[in-house]
Symmetry: C4
Subunit: 244 residues, 4 copies
């Protein structure tokens, strides 16, 4: 295994644990990255809770979500979410799918999630909403077929995040650090929107503020500061992944 | 003691601790299982908080809730909840009775608890509501007589869960893993319903979605993934039960 | 020091830590008990946060709140709350004064706190409301004079708990275990009332239910089960007080 | 380095960790103090999350926020918040800037934050509101220029705290202990106001109560009691800063 690949597997396990430790992922949900040496592949753990993932759990998939790693481990039933988005979006190198308790109220009611503060603007000014009933009628509320994956990727379009009716959210990024940062702060923005509603009407940042804040927040320095913070919290809780 | 029985006692202690650690049980409430070797008996701890239960605390009862284990330990005052349901429902092999802070608001107001997302659909499309006043008038808000237990079991009917007015919930399952999974995700669905209400009106999954999601979620794979997750969290907190 | 007194000091330190660990007390607030050997005295810690109290911090006071222990430690500014109630209520052997985040919303708005479930009924069917402005006009929102203490004790009357406008609550009990049990479950009942309001109108238990549930919940068995639970949680967090 | 300076650096690292551990600061935000030996300088950490700050991370700045410490470490982008306030307010010796989830709902909706209880009165009877659009139009929702810093300091005026539209709060104090105390209890007062709203209309303390409670709460004894409490909690979590 190349050093780059070994490192990518470790970082991916770490990212899964960070996003779980910060309360966005729980027993379900998953994060993937595009293969560092082959853009036609992506890396995603075997079917296991994010908080427990180790580098050795990371499998390789083709972009049409065929499992390429020889293994008797089972992949997640929803891996097509990841493959479909990597196929549709060459600018995307990391994907997080989750069902956080801050995001789900928006998925249940259809209320519009909007950027309210600088770090929340990292989710973009507009978060589209995907309703599986439109094309697929009643389903078990999971995305398991190639058709469903492609439909979701179309709904995502050029955006940074898509809400899924009564299901959760899928967040994308140019890098693993970016998808982690965006997943955590869109979750916190959603929590803020829920809390602010108790005090009165809520409106978004102005379009100019949202655009400027998004660029400002996604620079190397704030993302690096947060990454050090989240990693240290994980280390203090003795939850870092085992070395490769 | 047979190995199957020893294992059942350990698993039952573990299940009590998992459901407490995940915030559904607290100082009160309890989980039982049908005896692995004799369907006319069930296993339930002595009167002790779920988070503290050890395999040695597990007692045996007949289905009319007579204590069969020679002991000077006291059983829970509400053991009839368990016995009455095992008598009425031969398909039920595990029962959880709890008073979670997410479920109680529904028990106090009579608001209808409804499946809002896939994992929440494991509680079934309909959750009946039992009001102890209907047959028993004023009580100390506990279920301690055979008549009360049978009344509750009738209200449960063929369902997976019953709300108890101003008291809590009783959840049933075909297996211990199923009752744990259902108890935790019905609790989270209730929490979600409370939070979603702050954003607007809330409606349930379609009947077709609820039915498909229930079947999909109760398969071996998602239940096993969650079980590994919850057990590992317990182990990290140094809260596993002592060995038999 | 008699063994009974040494034990009382340890139990009082333990009780302070339990009620803090369960989220009712924080950096402020305090619990006292009547002296086990002299009903004309009470025991209360020096001015220190409840979670940190050790047996050596416990001081003795007369019922008019004169410090009897020779020490250069400072008592709490609000010790008159305790003395005034022991003077007025010979049936009271323990007092807890706190400012929990579940109780304070009732103190701020004047909304009526009501028993909603069995364990919550331990606070009594009626919780009176004391407004310091009625007799004392503007104050720094603390109870520091004998007159204020007597006024509060009159407002408490024969009840188990009194709300203090924009300040907190004072809870009394026949024993230390009872005041701990009542403080924790009245706090949880208040939290439940706040949460239930989000779903609809909230009404109390019937008077008959409240009376039966109060008696049932304050028996030795449930109070002992909870005490074991809370003490074990404290021990696991390595927060037990040091031995005398 | 003088002993006073070495101690100031340690105390500043400790204060950052306390306010993070109590849930007010998170990965972002910062606390500074005026230099103990030179009122024309202030001390502030390099760009790092508050929970991780060590004495060695503390840098020195002039009051116009020029970095005086020779280092290749980067300062926070928003250090002008601190310098501008030290320039405008000779009575201020410590500043905390944060984005707590209790304060942000007020920053998003413009709802008036008001003192509701004694410890909350430490934020003052009036908390002004600064809107960056008034002078600067669309920005990335950060305060990074000298002009913005001066504008914020003008909005703060003689008050103890200023809310910043869709951004957070800046809190000032005569000492480090005071700014920590005020930051934590204004945060808790905000949380209380959010919770109380669910029960009914909310009004502030009377002006006389607010003034008396502010003086009473900011005495040495309550601030010292809380400081011991917060420091001990940090020590138990093994989160104290390393020695100088």
């Amino acid at each position: 295994m190349s050093e780059a690949l070994a490192d990518a597997r470790y970082q991916l396990a770490l990212a899964n644990r960070i996003v779980a430790h910060e309360g966005v992922l729980d027993g379900f949900g998953h994060i993937s990255i595009r293969h560092p040496g082959d853009p036609a592949r992506y890396l995603l753990a075997r079917s296991r809770s994010p908080e427990l993932i180790e580098p050795a759990d990371i499998l390789e998939f083709s972009l049409d979500s065929k499992l390429l790693t020889p293994t008797d481990q089972l992949p997640y039933g929803e891996c097509v979410i990841h493959g479909s988005i990597y196929q549709a979006r060459s600018d995307v190198n990391a994907v997080c799918h989750h069902h956080s308790m801050a995001i789900l109220p928006f998925c249940v009611t259809g209320a519009v999630l909007m950027p309210l503060m600088g770090l929340g603007a990292t989710m973009g000014a507009t978060v589209p909403f995907w309703d599986s009933r439109d094309e697929f009628g009643d389903t078990p509320m999971v995305v398991t077929t190639a058709e469903q994956g492609r439909s979701l990727a179309r709904a995502l379009g050029p955006h940074a995040m898509v809400l899924m009716r009564r299901h959760g959210a899928t967040v994308v990024g140019a890098s693993l650090q970016e998808v982690v940062f965006r997943s955590i702060f869109s979750h916190r923005n959603a929590e803020l929107q829920l809390r602010a509603r108790a005090l009165g009407d809520v409106a978004p940042l102005t379009p100019g503020e949202a655009a400027q804040a998004e660029s400002y927040s996604l620079r190397v320095r704030p993302m690096g500061r947060a990454w050090e913070y989240w990693t240290t919290r994980l280390a203090k809780a003795d939850e870092l992944p085992p070395p490769v």
